[in-house]
């Protein structure tokens, strides 16, 4: 599913209040996305956004995901011009979160707080569908570290998380890439 910001709203998005309204509208769309699916927020045609708008709209969406909102479906962005992308990078980095921007070929790129996110995303793309232990093995890190990275990866929107009951009983999380060209 695609959410076209310029068509639904405006080519220049200025205020925190508008950011809140757009975020709530995006959340409404996300409710209609099936688990395992994704919503791509398109900024194609958007000339500019302010920091206040970006923070209230996108950064808070990502922070919400970090708290568990809509984690069983993906959330991605595309079509940002240089100015919009620069603003988005700034608001995400300030809140120490990351999001995923899709290039023209559909290839994902981490924006905002990067650090180990790019390498973790690359490993997740190779695994496609995996558990925390799989990622820990692929990256040669501890399960604890893998869990911490997965929390951020899920928040970024690149990966969906599902609660599963393994054969031996109990509960654990299963993860899957939800980036369109890789899903």
């Amino acid at each position: 599913m695609r959410y076209d910001v310029a068509t639904r709203w405006s080519v220049f998005l200025a205020t925190r209040e508008r950011g809140r309204r757009v975020r709530e509208d995006i959340e409404q769309e996300l409710r209609g996305v099936a688990p395992g699916g994704n919503l791509v927020i398109s900024f194609a045609g958007v000339e500019g956004i302010t920091v206040s708008f970006g923070d209230e709209c996108i950064a808070k969406l990502i922070v919400g995901r970090a708290a568990g909102d809509f984690v069983d479906r993906g959330l991605l962005m595309e079509g940002m011009n240089e100015d919009v992308r620069e603003t988005m990078e700034a608001v995400l980095a300030r809140r120490k979160v990351s999001a995923i921007a899709l290039g023209s070929s559909g290839a994902p790129e981490v924006i905002g707080e990067t650090g180990w996110m790019s390498s973790t995303l690359a490993a997740a793309l190779e695994l496609h569908s995996f558990g925390a232990a799989d990622l820990a093995g692929r990256l040669h890190i501890s399960p604890q570290a893998a869990n911490n990275r997965l929390k951020m990866l899920v928040a970024s929107g690149a990966v969906a998380r599902e609660l599963v009951v393994p054969d031996g009983g109990g509960k654990e999380f299963s993860y899957a890439i939800v980036i369109p060209a890789y899903a």
Binding site: S10, V11, A14, T15, E17, G48, R94
Partner: protein, 278 residues
């Protein structure tokens, strides 16, 4: 302490710091020679504020017909009634954003498509247009959100080439409200509640994460300063409550700042931005 008549004489009197009477009953523009967007927005806010308290000031119009015509073109006649005469048709180029009042942040957003088109056309340079709207957007958002009142937020913008106006060429912005003011807003945050210095609070307002709300935010003014500095040598004036901060910005350099108390206090927050040489 003076009372009654605001003598807005000469060039850019409010921007230059003409003292406000404690209770304005007359706004005297008879000897006004020039008004920047800040002056225009501040006059509208001041008049509207007094009107909202049941004390509508009398207005003495500019005696110079050229100045009167320019103020009509700037949009002031729409908000301060008076015998402006035929008005308009000023020989000076009109503002790309005549005096506009918004009652909410949402209303400002609703105007963006139109304002973007006009700004793009007037400023020519894409990057400058974006930066200018970024700056305006943050300031109007702050005013319409934290500076809410019965008066609304006034916005005015002009680009001066420097020849007719005699002012430094550049993009001139005025954003004014009659809300609680920055110092009082920040005191709503327990962290600043005991800070009784309006000067100190204006100084703090420029820093990241400083907010009067319970939210984890407070980057609006930081970004305004960054964007203004990126666009070129700039000036920012923030007059709010009992204090004023004046800032000179250069790309890659720390802002130069000067603060002073304002007596009597400014009703609300009045902001001037000049991006020079553009």
């Amino acid at each position: 302490m003076s009372s009654g008549t605001l003598r807005a004489y000469g060039r850019s009197p409010l921007l230059a710091g003409t003292s406000l009477p404690t209770a304005v009953s007359i706004i005297d523009l008879s000897a006004l020679a020039w008004a920047t967007p800040f002056d225009v927005a501040a006059l509208a806010t001041l008049w509207s504020f007094r009107q909202s308290t049941g004390h509508t000031p009398d207005l003495l119009l500019p005696t110079d017909p050229l100045v009167r015509a320019y103020l009509v073109d700037m949009g002031l006649a729409e908000f301060i009634p008076g015998d402006w005469g035929a008005g308009g048709g000023s020989t000076i180029e009109g503002p790309w954003l005549p005096l506009t009042r918004v009652w909410s942040a949402d209303e400002w957003d609703d105007l963006q498509d139109e304002i973007w088109a006009v700004t793009r056309r007037s400023l020519g340079n894409y990057e400058l247009a974006q930066r200018t709207l970024d700056i305006l957007g943050e300031l109007v958002d702050n005013a319409a959100t934290h500076g809410r009142s019965d008066v609304g937020t006034f916005v005015c913008a002009q680009r001066y080439g420097g020849t007719t106006s005699g002012l430094p060429p550049g993009v001139w912005l005025g954003i004014t409200d009659a809300g609680v003011g920055i110092p009082a807003h920040l005191r709503r945050n327990p962290k600043y509640a005991e800070n009784h210095s309006d000067v100190d609070l204006i100084r703090l307002a420029r820093r990241p994460w400083v907010t009067g709300t319970a939210d984890r935010r407070g980057w609006g003014l930081v970004d305004v300063f960054e964007k203004a500095a990126e666009a070129g040598p700039s000036q920012v004036l923030i007059r709010s409550g009992g204090a004023q901060g004046a800032f000179w910005l250069r790309p890659g350099a720390r802002p130069a700042a000067r603060y002073r108390p304002c007596t009597p206090p400014t009703p609300g927050t009045w902001i001037h931005v000049l991006v020079e040489g553009t």
